[in-house]
């Protein structure tokens, strides 16, 4: 078990390093000079040159990357070159919880709806629940978050006026849970509906396959009730593919978060990244990309470990 965890670490580190280094190279290619930006209107050539030196921009790309990485490991991602006296970490600290909350809510909503739907569909394939949920998930797969979000805003925000459509100044989760959750409801639901479609399809197929297994028929032959068979015997061995999808979807969720945060106007990771890229905010971009890629890699790492928790066979087999 521990071996499986340890064996994956070098690969994970490699992916994180590659992604952040790639970001550095891309930033290098992007036109615009951070030092000129930081200097602003007072940017005489001398001041700019001084700033270049100070920011280390005159060093070789790899040297700069190394310096940045060493600082970043200690939690210091540098300063914004656009905003005066704003550290990258402080921006991330305020943005990350918002993005995380929407993503976690979205996953929870997606699973809360997908699991019962998939179970119902698998128990009666071709029944009306199955047919409607298949058709529905097919439709949802064709709805990108920016289209879905527009529908959501139009129906729940404008026509019905049930939920706020702008989530910029939301109370904290712990100060006013109801107000906070109400504000994040629409953005999370928008993300959730896309995930939902994937989960229902995968889980349904795997459930049906497991239901055909000998051990399920033997459980029936032992007089064990349908519900118990489904939840205790079938769900767990059927959940591996869905779990993988949940891990991979985090990438999609990050992409979705960009759109959702713009649409519902709140300052999450996606929105500040877009701002930073447009504003050529060098260290801001590097810091945000680093956090996002580490997050993605970590989630998939956890998925791998959950795998072996769910399926004991994986624990002993060399992965």
């Amino acid at each position: 078990m521990l071996m499986i965890v340890l064996r994956r670490v070098p690969r994970l580190l490699f992916v994180v390093v590659a992604v952040t280094l790639l970001t550095f190279i891309l930033l290098e290619l992007t036109p615009g000079d951070p030092a000129t930006l930081k200097a602003g209107l007072a940017g005489t050539p001398e001041v700019v040159e001084e700033l270049r030196e100070e920011l280390g921009l005159n060093d070789h790309l790899l040297v700069r990357y190394k310096d940045w990485a060493v600082d970043a490991l200690q939690g210091d991602f540098g300063e914004s070159v656009v905003y005066e006296d704003v550290s990258v970490s402080s921006r991330i600290r305020s943005a990350l919880p918002k993005t995380l909350e929407t993503m976690i809510l979205a996953e929870l909503m997606a699973f809360a709806i997908a699991i019962p739907l998939a179970i119902r569909s698998a128990q009666k394939p071709g029944g009306w629940v199955d047919r409607w949920s298949s058709a529905g998930s097919f439709g949802l797969l064709a709805l990108p978050s920016f289209v879905l979000g527009i529908y959501m805003i139009f129906i729940f925000g404008v026509k019905l006026d049930w939920f706020p459509t702008i989530s910029s100044d939301l109370p904290g989760l712990f100060d006013d849970p109801a107000g906070n959750l109400r504000g994040y409801f629409l953005p999370s639901l928008t993300l959730a509906l896309n995930l939902l479609a994937v989960y229902v399809r995968l889980l349904r197929t795997d459930l049906i396959e497991t239901l055909q297994q000998d051990y399920v028929m033997l459980a029936q032959a032992r007089g064990i009730g349908t519900r118990r068979i489904m939840w205790r015997h079938v769900l767990r061995p059927s959940s591996l593919n869905t779990l993988t999808a949940a891990g991979l979807n985090v990438g999609g969720l990050i992409g979705g978060a960009f759109i959702i945060e713009v649409m519902f106007s709140y300052q999450g990771m996606g929105r500040i990244l877009i701002e930073a890229v447009f504003g050529n905010d060098y260290f801001m971009v590097a810091g945000i990309v680093a956090i996002l890629s580490v997050g993605y890699v970590l989630v998939n790492f956890v998925v791998d470990i959950l795998y072996s928790v769910l399926d004991p066979r994986i624990r002993t087999v060399d992965a």
Binding site: R11, F14, V15, V19, L22, T23, L26, L27, L29, T30, P31, K124, P125, G126, G127, F138, G139, A142, L143, P144, S145, F146, V147, I150, I153, F154, V158, I208, Q212, D214, Y215, M217, L218, A219, Q220, A221, R222, G223, I224, G225, H233, R236, P237, L248, I254, G255, F258, I259, V262, M263, L273, V277, V285, S293, Y296, V297, D311, P312, R313, T316
Partner: protein, 616 residues
């Protein structure tokens, strides 16, 4: 069999055809100039609602939304098409090579896929766009690069499993070069999955453009994404501006997905399993006193998508406590289905059972669900053919043994645990304490079969159903398991039904035997009597095909020529007629009636005891 693609597929295909037409001939169509300002020309008012003047309404400058949407078709399709071709081709090649060559090449490709999945594509898009502008070529290159990993991943998976298949091995063994194998064996086999994924990938490209437009990074021409993004601002007062292009985009993506899905259903047939319902026909006839299991005129019909199958046709037998019955037949003769029909556990299909199945006095076909479940759990123990699939791989052995006791409330948790230990000892599993906590994969095949026997015995059943309990095991283990079952039957006075294709097992371990052929019991009687005095020609053939140690070692082993008939459409007359050495015209015309005595019955027009017949 040709599969139907369905109405939705063709509607989608036609819709895509219309889009292609619009993309090609947009400049020849009688529509307004999408950039003409209606408020200036007077053609269209600001924010005019959809109507006859302008089908989709007009925007804040009076531009006609319909012609804007039509003009957006070309960039969407062009982008989708070129990107799909480029990334599909490159991704497929990489995937095939990675899956086939493996080794270093595979590791490099999978690492690149990992990295690209972890990298926020948006950063790349923004950076490249900022450096190279917003021409369509920039977008094509970017989206193609981003699309490659998706194709590579799918194709790699498919090639990995393909390259383990026999035909690839065979080609390699015949000295085909790598390139030839890739081209002739692998590529044709991944073509259809890739094609179906390409339609979905096409849709993804259209969406990606929309997403980019959404954050203000689109092409230098009218696109759907741009229209949606511009309309979004007016969602409160003039919702048509955002809703119409969104819906067009949604419809397009849906159409591409539907076509892709239709193609996929050609490769991997959609499973058409229907709900599993158990239907009972006819009426119950209580059995004689003293029998644990009593089956009379049992008829089982499976309603599968491929047709109706009748694997059990008019089967009767009963077994008293402490006795054992062997059910013998070739594979596919329906002998397993007889056991399944007793316990009512089938794969997904509607099942109709008629006749009588009575276990411990309970009508197993028509009683209330709870009664049937209780009887199943406390009076019947089932052992299946393959111990490797009979245990749930993700649950501990202990939990699986304890479960029937807890579910049916026969013991408390502590008692159930103690009993589980006792059971494991009884079935001969060493170190039972430790085994309780282990998972099935940690046990050998023989040990697993012992564990399933322990589960079956948990609630001290009166009836033990064993479906070829030893076929999947080593020869040395087979005898141990059979002796164990036989000992348990004798000690506890259980009735044992033993399904097997092995007459030697029947001879050694059963009191009576039912010979099954094509879903029917063709001969039934005490084991000793059947072996000494077989009546049905099939029984005779079976006994002759037994290896006999008394014969000289070089004597030829008799085999039965031909194969049993299909159960989907069984022939009229005697089902064994085609393979019978003593067949007469009567056999083909009329089904034989059951004859002989109650103790020894057989269904044959010309049994062994009758006048010898001319063998033509």
């Amino acid at each position: 069999m040709r599969k139907r693609l369905g109405l939705l597929f063709w509607v989608s295909a036609v819709y895509i055809g219309v889009l292609v037409f619009l993309a090609l001939f947009r400049d020849l169509l009688p529509i307004r100039d999408p950039d003409a300002l209606g408020i200036r020309t007077g053609d269209c008012r600001q924010f005019q609602d959809p109507g006859w003047n302008s089908y989709f309404g007009c925007d804040n400058l009076g531009r006609d939304l319909f012609s804007q949407v039509v003009h957006g078709v070309r960039p969407a399709l062009f982008l989708g098409f070129t990107v799909t071709i480029v990334s599909g081709t490159v991704g497929t090649l990489l995937g095939v090579l990675a899956g086939f060559l493996r080794g270093v090449f595979d590791r490099v490709v999978t690492t690149i896929i990992d990295i690209s999945l972890a990298f926020p594509a948006l950063v790349l898009l923004i950076a490249v766009r900022a450096s190279f502008g917003n021409g369509i070529v920039v977008f094509i290159v970017l989206f193609s690069v981003l699309g490659i990993p998706g194709y590579a991943r799918i194709v790699r998976g498919a090639s990995l499993s393909l390259s383990e298949r026999e035909f690839v091995d065979a080609a390699a063994a015949m000295g085909a070069t790598t390139w030839r194998i890739v081209r002739r064996e692998l590529l044709p086999n991944v073509f259809l999955p890739v094609l179906s994924f390409a339609f979905i990938g096409f849709a993804v490209v259209i969406l990606a453009e929309g997403g980019l437009a959404f954050i203000g990074l689109s092409l230098d021409q009218i696109t759907w994404g741009k229209l949606i993004n511009d309309g979004r601002v007016e969602i409160r007062d003039h919702p048509h501006l955002a809703l119409i292009p969104s819906t067009v985009m949604f419809g397009t993506v849906l159409a591409f997905n539907l076509v892709g899905d239709g193609l996929r259903s050609l490769v991997a047939p959609r499973e058409v399993a229907t709900a599993r319902r158990l239907i009972a026909e006819g009426s119950h006839q209580p059995g004689e006193e003293g029998a644990v299991v009593h089956v009379r005129n049992l008829r089982t019909v499976l309603h599968t998508p491929g047709g109706t199958v009748e694997p059990v046709d008019d089967v009767s037998f009963s077994v008293a406590p402490g006795e054992s019955l062997g059910i013998v037949g070739e594979s596919g003769s329906g002998k397993t289905m007889i056991l399944r029909s007793i316990v009512g556990a089938f794969p997904l299909a509607d099942v109709t059972r008629g006749g009588t199945v009575e276990v411990a006095g309970v009508d197993m076909l028509r009683s209330p669900d709870a009664t049937i479940r209780r009887t199943l759990g406390t009076e019947i123990g089932t052992i299946s053919q393959n111990p490797l699939t009979a245990l749930n791989p993700v649950r501990r052995i202990g939990d699986q043994i304890i479960e029937p006791m807890l579910v049916h409330g026969t013991r408390s948790k502590q008692e159930a645990r103690d009993r589980a230990l006792e059971l494991l000892e009884q079935v001969g599993i060493p170190a039972p304490e430790q085994r309780l906590r282990e998972y099935p994969h940690q046990l050998s095949g023989g040990m697993r079969q012992r564990a399933t026997i322990a589960i079956a015995l948990a609630n001290e059943p009166q009836l033990l159903l064993a479906d070829e309990p030893t076929t999947a095991l080593d020869v040395t283990v087979q005898d141990q398991i059979l002796r164990l079952l036989d000992g348990l039957r004798a000690d506890r006075g259980m009735a044992l039904v033993l399904v097997t294709h092995d007459l030697a097992v029947v001879k050694g371990f059963t009191d009576s035997v039912a010979i099954v052929y094509a879903g029917q019991v063709v001969e039934y009687g005490p084991t000793a009597e059947i072996f000494a005095n077989p009546q049905h020609r099939y029984t005779v053939a079976l006994i002759r095909s037994m290896p006999n140690l008394d014969l000289p070692s070089h004597s030829e082993l008799a085999t039965i020529e031909g194969a049993p008939p299909s159960l989907i459409d069984p022939p009229t007359g005697c089902r064994f007629a085609d393979r019978c050495p003593a067949v007469q015209q009567k056999c083909r015309d009329e089904s034989p009636v059951r004859s002989g005595t109650d103790a020894h019955s057989y269904s044959c027009w010309f049994p062994m005891s009758a006048q010898p017949v001319e063998v033509s």
